[in-house]
């Protein structure tokens, strides 16, 4: 272990003078568990150590110099099987930086297993995905990975690694708490952060780490036993991923682990057209559902970036289709991954007719109401050799409207007061054409619309 982080000294108390210490033992950590969050730079670390206490008063000194831990989060608790321990107080002594003393009363002398937990920053993880479409683009192999990175300044050896998916509410950044001059700040003046100082040091530190990383041998790997499993379970509003066994992630290193690998997830090639949102061209989406039918649905899928490839030929060469970042997907929710604008599917709405009608006049013979009638023809072309689904959204400038459709189209869906959606299924290399007549009501004609629509 490079830096001695919560270094514990069991001291016998010498009337409050921490300098005159009677060192009893310096225990190493037995086990360590890291619960790493991805919505914030935060990790909950829990380690167990066996302290040797004497009967009566004991002072335990610990320090956290050169680490990124939040000293206010430090907690020590005797393990459930250790009785007779009373942790009276935690003192951050004056004029000593990065140091705390636990005053502990013990009913008996001997070894006492304790658990020390704290929040630290510098460890992170993210999810990312690789999708490989089959040649017919009906199914996709979906491989999910997590990448855990350690920039905490601490080497964690044989740590049980757990990852949390979810959005946690934090008041302060852990890294900022770690940099405070005094753990709880000081009254009135607020929190003093030695920012300038620290930033400089941190940069130096990182540079040093880089050099170390280049010069270091490859990270130790376990004997080949096949990829590790990740156990997933829900807790409160979060999802907890527990990586099988333990991991050693030296400071400065990251590690990629396979989260899941599903061979043939059925996908729909969905194309969307909405002029106000995407402009004149069509945007491609890959659509599937996080459910059992799609061989998924066991757990939510954490947000991340998906790179999509396509089988280019029978020799399993690949072609890169594009990438999409997506949000967290709960179980049973639909997924729509945007792969960007395309030109092989074309949607073209064309105004074919424009007229006005049903004029109303006020007593002074000024116009007080009228209708506008627009006939549009929409052409949807699929130039690809696979069937695709196309969704066309039309937004209207008013809520007073009626619409009739004709041609090769199913009934439209009213999305909200001024939006409709047409859905089409296009066969390979085919074209569909349909018309709709939009009547908008203006002025006093809105009253007629209201009467008719009630």
């Amino acid at each position: 272990m490079k830096c001695l982080f919560v270094s514990l000294l069991v001291l016998s108390v010498v009337s409050g003078a921490y300098g005159k210490v009677d060192l009893v033992t310096l225990p190493a950590r037995d086990t360590v568990q890291l619960t790493i969050y991805n919505s914030a730079d935060m990790t909950l670390a829990r380690e167990s150590r066996a302290l040797t206490l004497k009967e009566g008063e004991n002072a335990l000194q610990f320090s956290w110099e050169n680490t990124l831990i939040d000293p206010t989060s430090l907690e020590m608790a005797p393990r459930s099987d250790a009785g007779g321990i009373d942790i009276a107080e935690l003192v951050y002594p004056p004029r000593v930086k990065n140091l705390g003393v636990w005053n502990v009363r013990s009913a008996a002398g001997g070894k006492v297993p304790v658990e020390i937990s704290y929040l630290t920053s510098g460890l992170s993880w993210r999810a990312f995905y690789m999708g490989t479409l089959t040649h017919d683009e009906k199914t996709m192999r979906l491989q999910a990975y997590v990448r855990v990175t350690n920039k905490s300044g601490e080497d964690y050896e044989n740590a049980q690694v757990r990852l949390i998916v979810g959005k946690v509410h934090l008041l302060d950044e852990i890294a900022a708490l770690a940099r405070r001059e005094y753990p709880y700040g000081r009254p009135e003046r607020g929190v003093t952060v030695e920012a300038m100082h620290f930033d400089g040091d941190a940069k130096k530190e990182i540079r040093r780490m880089d050099r170390l990383a280049l010069a270091a041998p490859a990270a130790p790997t376990a004997a080949f036993e096949g990829p590790k499993q990740i156990v997933k379970e829900g807790l409160s509003e979060y999802f907890l991923y527990t990586i099988e066994g333990t991991e050693t992630i030296p400071n400065g290193w990251s590690k990629r682990l396979l989260s899941f690998d599903i061979d043939a997830v059925p996908v729909v090639n969905l194309y969307k057209f909405e002029h106000e949102r995407y402009g004149a061209s069509v945007v491609r989406f890959l659509s599937f559902k996080n459910d059992q039918e799609h061989k998924l649905g066991k757990t939510p899928i954490p947000g991340g970036t998906l790179k999509v490839y396509r089988a280019a030929d029978a020799q399993e060469h690949l072609s890169y289709t594009g990438q999409s970042s997506f949000k967290y997907i709960p179980v049973d929710e639909d997924v729509e991954l945007s792969l960007g604008h395309v030109s092989d599917i074309v949607v073209e709405p064309k105004l074919m007719e424009y007229r006005t009608d049903n004029y109303r006049f006020d007593p002074r013979r000024n116009i007080s109401g009228w209708d506008e009638i627009q006939v549009l023809e929409v052409t949807a072309k699929n130039t690809r050799d696979i069937p695709v689904k196309v969704e066309i959204r039309r937004n209207f400038p008013t809520t007073y409207w009626t619409l009739q459709r004709s041609g090769q189209v199913e009934e439209f869906e009213k999305v909200d007061q001024d939006t409709v959606k047409f859905s089409l299924l296009l066969q390979p290399r085919s074209e569909r054409r349909f018309q709709y007549t939009l009547t908008t009501y203006n002025g006093v004609r809105t009253e007629d619309w209201t009467r008719l629509s009630q």
Partner: protein, 398 residues
Amino acid sequence: MNTERRTLIGLLALLCAAAVTEARIKLVALPERAATVIRLDNPNATLIEEERVLTLQKGLNKVDFSWKGVQIDEDSIRLQMLDHPAEVTLLSVSYPPGEAALVWEINSAGDFAEKVRISYLLRNIDRLITYKAVANKPETLVDLKSYLILRNFSGEDFAKARVLLDYGAAFEQGINHEETKQMLFVNEPNVPIRKVWKFDAALLPWDPEQLNNQNVGIPVSYEIANNQKAGLGEFALWGGKARLFQQDGHGGTIFLGEDNAALVPVGEKMELYIGDSRDIVVTQRKMRDAQVNLRKNNSGQVVLYDTDELITAKIENFKDSPAVLTMVQHIPGQWDMEQCNFKYTKKDAYTLQFEIELPARTEKGPAVKELTMHYHRRNVRSDAPPAPGSPPMPLGRR
């Protein structure tokens, strides 16, 4: 050890000659500080009370009270005679120029070793409260711990003092300058909690589809009642940072989130916002907004109208546990509900609150409920400002 900060709240009994001269004569004998009380019941200021014995002579005495390296609110300094309050009288207080000091003029009826209590507000010494709550796995109970954090940056070392909060017994505690101490002072296991999910239509986006690849989190909070049923209710819970954890079922915990708790008087509830749920999804849409019952002036312009509005909100629970969603809707101005398929309570003239029970997701998919509100806003004037206290139009509208 830093000697510069050694401060002193010193007290000099001045010899008082009958013929008062310009120069003050400071007596060398410094009365020892006896019992000291640090009173932390006011979150804005800390009151120090200390007892000392003054050797007074019959007649007029001058006592000099001075300090260095500490910040004392001069106007807060009080002197109280404890042994002979009727015979020892404080005549005046004067402040010498350019000094952190004051001079008491005391008239004594006899030669007394008078015990006095001096109290003053001392700056840069205070206390914080923090909470740590560990919820059980079903999130029905928490083990609630509260810590008192004493911070002393006042410049003064207190070797031994009685520390008083606004409740509970006083305790002995020494605290040096620049020292911070954390002490456990509430440890209450199995406090019942209620978990609340809240969708406020004025605060959250209506249509998640309109957001590109962003989840709309539904804020999640816990409610803890400060009452006897919860094992609490003895005193107000002070405000402070609260961190929530949850047992993970494997002997460990996960961190759920943190929030600043406000002061919670007895009988009230502490509400702690811990994070957002992305497993409950609300899609709210306005399906109709038309003007009806138009009233016009002689020029045919509409001057007064009602509206006919229809709002739908689809609520999906993707969680594998049930939940109760608190949904807040806002309708400005004068309005009446024509039809609404869920019961609501009117929180005020313009605010409706629904408690929507969502069952757990099943194998068939998420549990779905759909709220429909068909309402009319009445007597909307084409030229009029919105009704008093009306909320602004909801943010979620496109």
